[in-house]
């Protein structure tokens, strides 16, 4: 089960980025902050999700090595 955390975050990345994109476009439509100004938020979001993926991958590896590894 623990192994799947990394996979879950990887799978969630697409929908979360899609929602972020939608929100940025919506903010651009309804306020003065256009997507041309707010696009770095998308980059930050992508970075955060990648970071989470790496962290969970490391935890998974440590867990595997404590268990003696798997064959």
């Amino acid at each position: 089960m623990n192994n799947n955390w990394q996979g879950l975050i990887r799978v969630l990345r697409g929908p979360i980025l899609l929602i972020t994109l939608g929100v940025l476009f919506l903010v651009g439509q309804t306020t003065m902050h256009s997507i041309w100004r707010t696009w770095p938020v998308f980059l930050i979001m992508y970075g955060v999700l990648k970071l989470l993926e790496r962290i969970t991958a490391r935890e998974t590896n440590e867990f595997s090595s404590q268990q003696g590894g798997s064959i």
């Binding site: 799947n4 996979g7 879950l8 990887r10 799978v11 969630l12 990345r13 697409g14 929908p15 979360i16 980025l17 899609l18 929602i19 972020t20 994109l21 939608g22 929100v23 940025l24 476009f25 919506l26 651009g28 439509q29 309804t30 003065m32």
Partner: protein
Amino acid sequence: MKPRSLIGPLLLILIGALFLLHNLRPDLLSFAVLAMYWPYILIAWGVIRLIEIGFWWILKKPLPRAGVSGGEWALVVLICLIGLGTSAAHRYGPRLPPLIMNGRGIEFFGEPFDYPLSASKPVSNVKRLVIENLHGNARVVGGDVTTIQVTGRKTIRAFQQSDADDADRKTPLEVIIQGEDVIVKTNQDKAPEDRRVSADIELTVPRNLNIRATGRRGDFDILGINGDVEVESGNAGVRLQDIAGKVRVDLHRSDVVRAVNVKKDVEILGKGGDIELENIEGKVILNGYFSGDMQCRDLKGSLELQSGGTELRFAKLPGQLHMDLGDFTATNIVGPVRLAARSRDIRIEDFTDSLELRIERGDIELFPKQMPNGSIDVTTGSGNIELALPAQAKFDLSATALRGEVTNDFGPVLKLVDEGRKSLLRGGTGKGPKITIATDRGSITVRKD
């Protein structure tokens, strides 16, 4: 077996439902709504995917390799391009050729057939003229006449002459008297659903009438009227000149509203582009969202503007004012003046009475020429402030630059204190108005004019 996503069928249902809604109730789902709210499609898509993945995770079903596949991202890019194009067309629509968009959808087909329009009616005991022209321009000229004279041209877009003739018969130009109203209607709502009818009309009317003009798309030019003027339209450029009564303009969209020589109040509501006001004797109220240039000259009454994040008030404007999305300049303005805006460079010359400026970002230059009677209270979050006061002016000043320098031309009567990155200037030249200026990030210059 890996579970299949429901997004594909749901998107098809959504697109079908949107088209069905547009066909059955075009008033509920207009082009403007789609242009504004299309990003909700992306958000809904993401949320549905999250819910699906949550379910699969809880039910311990195998997860797909990616939450959004490569093909889906390609579709997202396509939706973004169409959405951005739709928004741009909605925003700059009036500048595009008229055949691209109209209230009834996309119009590439058929050819235009023109029909002359003409009608006249003697009027007496009538107080108001009502113009109902859904599509097309209307020009109203007031004169010393007792008959309403309408001339113009009707354009019908159709594949065949017979279809156009049929639409022409169903949309007669009418001039009807109802009580104290005389109604000029082009009856375009009676045209067959797939015919696009527009009419450009010119009316000569008695100048003492009140005017009410309504439409969905088309410009209104109204000249030489002694009564009140009211314009209501979905999308119109409005030009008014020599109006002795009150003016009220309510628009969903507009490229320009111009009013010149109006003797009473002017009220402009809704969304619009450029605003031009000249020689207005009454009060001016602007309330809505105006994204273009604003130019005012010789306003004898007060002005109140509320547009997006910008708020402006003043008592009179004998001089002139220009404002766009990046700048505000005014010369010879009578206070109390209050301006609050997000991001704008400000330059005000020759103002009297009190001045209050609240700017989140932008440089400020103030040249009062004569010392104003009221206080000056100016704040910018980020930007330089320059204040040029008459050499002999009496005032009590407090200037604060949190991260920036302060320059002083008035000598030791004003004391400069440096507290690390913060600079303060305090003092006065005698009994006079209180001046408070502050910038969080930027320099302050107080100099002699």
